[in-house]
């Protein structure tokens, strides 16, 4: 039988893309969550300018991360239930590559569009433009790392009785390096230091994840499927 690998790629990307398109709820949920946090904050802190500016950048970050986490740990679950994960397993293409593509599509279509909201919210919270610019860059890179971590965690918890019982618990500690380096960049910019070393560290972490994550995920998906 002759197998056409190009077809597999096309089909895979089409599937992922269409699924995300049809179930925009994930995306909407994230946005609404972000808005929720950003509105709630001034309501609790009180509208006083000084307090707000102190924490405004933190708010944007928290809003972004907290809104991504609930989606992250569901990367595989619906495919698992629908039986698509099985189809991926039956596919002649290596599962590792499929996972890598899946993560990329997820990142590209679901997370990257969120960057639009960074400037909007930042303006609402009076964050200076230079920091907004760096925020966007860090977020674009860091979120890829997040997706890869999410892939590990959600595949690890696939076979558990009540899914996503532990996956947010796993995501958090794994994500902290990304978080610290990302924050390092912003702090450096704020205090007029060179942000690049931190940025390189951030990129390194993401590159490492790019290699490890598909391996671990594929392994644990296989375990979840054949059990």
């Amino acid at each position: 039988m002759n197998i056409n690998f190009k077809n597999i790629l096309i089909a895979l990307i089409e599937k992922e893309f269409k699924s995300y398109l049809r179930s925009i709820n994930n995306f909407m949920n994230m946005i609404v969550f972000m808005i929720a946090i950003i509105i709630l904050f001034p309501l609790t802190v009180g509208p006083s300018e000084e307090k707000l500016t102190l924490v405004s950048n933190a708010i944007v970050w928290i809003a972004l991360i907290v809104s991504i986490i609930p989606t992250l740990d569901k990367i595989y679950i619906s495919d698992f239930k629908n039986g698509w994960l099985e189809q991926y397993y039956y596919s002649p293409l290596l599962l590792e590559i499929i996972i890598l593509i899946k993560c990329f599509v997820f990142w590209f279509f679901l997370i990257i569009p969120l960057t639009i909201f960074i400037p909007i919210f930042s303006i609402l919270l009076n964050i200076p433009f230079l920091i907004i610019f760096w925020n966007i860059i860090i977020f674009a890179i860091g979120s890829l790392g997040f997706c890869l971590i999410g892939s590990i965690c959600s595949s690890l918890t696939l076979g558990t009785k009540s899914n996503n019982l532990i996956s947010p618990l796993l995501i958090l500690p794994l994500a902290i390096p990304i978080f610290i380096f990302g924050n390092g960049v912003v702090e450096a910019v704020k205090s007029n230091y060179d942000p690049l070393p931190n940025l390189y560290l951030l990129i390194t972490v993401c590159l490492i994840l790019l290699i490890i994550s598909p391996l671990i995920s594929a392994y644990s998906i296989k375990i979840a499927l054949t059990k």
Binding site: M1, I3, I8, A11, K18, E86, Q87, Y90
Partner: protein
């Protein structure tokens, strides 16, 4: 085509547990190969588990499974189709999209004509652009079974069908029988579970669990 004649499919001393439950212990089966194997047994006797085990979705605890002349695992994955009881189509995609993507993932061609032909044979061409969530159970089942009706599917070595007749109407059953017969004539092996009393095929082996 001829090479398939020498294939065999044997379970030797198989034990399987799911959860804490032992489903088989020391099971020995030799399947008719090529040919139609009908697996019978009362509810909960492990028919579905057997198919999943053969398809490598469940791991046996002990024993050996010879899959079509000791195929390597990856080849085996490419050389069979498992149709489960429950639809494995995405609710948020249309029937056509589902089948297209399915073909693509297998590395097969996926042009619209091909899909349409298969759907037409099952008489559900008009539901082509329906979201799966908006189809009746029988239509879903037919869409699922259309996966068997592609040219490439007939060139495979083995079909594993779990209660394929459920939900099907008369015409659906007749057509399914037709393609199953065609596949067997092309020296394919079918493992089918079923609760039907009367079996319409000419040549088959019944396996009691």
């Amino acid at each position: 085509m001829k090479s398939r004649l020498k294939d065999n499919m044997i379970l030797k001393n198989i034990s399987l547990t799911r959860g804490l439950k032992t489903i088989f212990s020391n099971l020995n089966i030799e399947f008719l190969c090529p040919g139609l194997n009908i697996i019978k047994g009362e509810n909960g006797s492990g028919k579905t588990s057997l198919l999943m085990m053969i398809s490598t979705l469940l791991l046996e605890d002990r024993g050996t499974i010879i899959r079509l002349g000791k195929l390597k695992k990856n080849d085996w994955l490419n050389e069979h189709i498992l149709i489960k009881q429950n639809s494995s189509l995405s609710d948020e995609l249309t029937i056509e999209e589902n089948l297209k993507i399915w073909c693509g993932l297998r590395g097969w061609d996926f042009n619209t004509d091909k899909i349409e032909k298969s759907l037409k044979n099952f008489g559900i061409l008009k539901y082509k652009n329906f979201l799966v969530s908006e189809c009746s159970s029988g239509i879903k089942k037919k869409a699922e079974l259309s996966k068997l009706n592609f040219d490439e599917s007939f060139k495979l070595k083995c079909w594993l069908l779990d209660e394929p007749l459920n939900h099907l109407d008369e015409n659906g059953k007749l057509f399914l029988k037709k393609i199953m017969d065609k596949f067997i004539n092309m020296n394919g092996t079918i493992l089918q579970t079923s609760h039907e009393k009367k079996i319409n095929h000419k040549n088959f082996k019944i396996i009691k669990l």
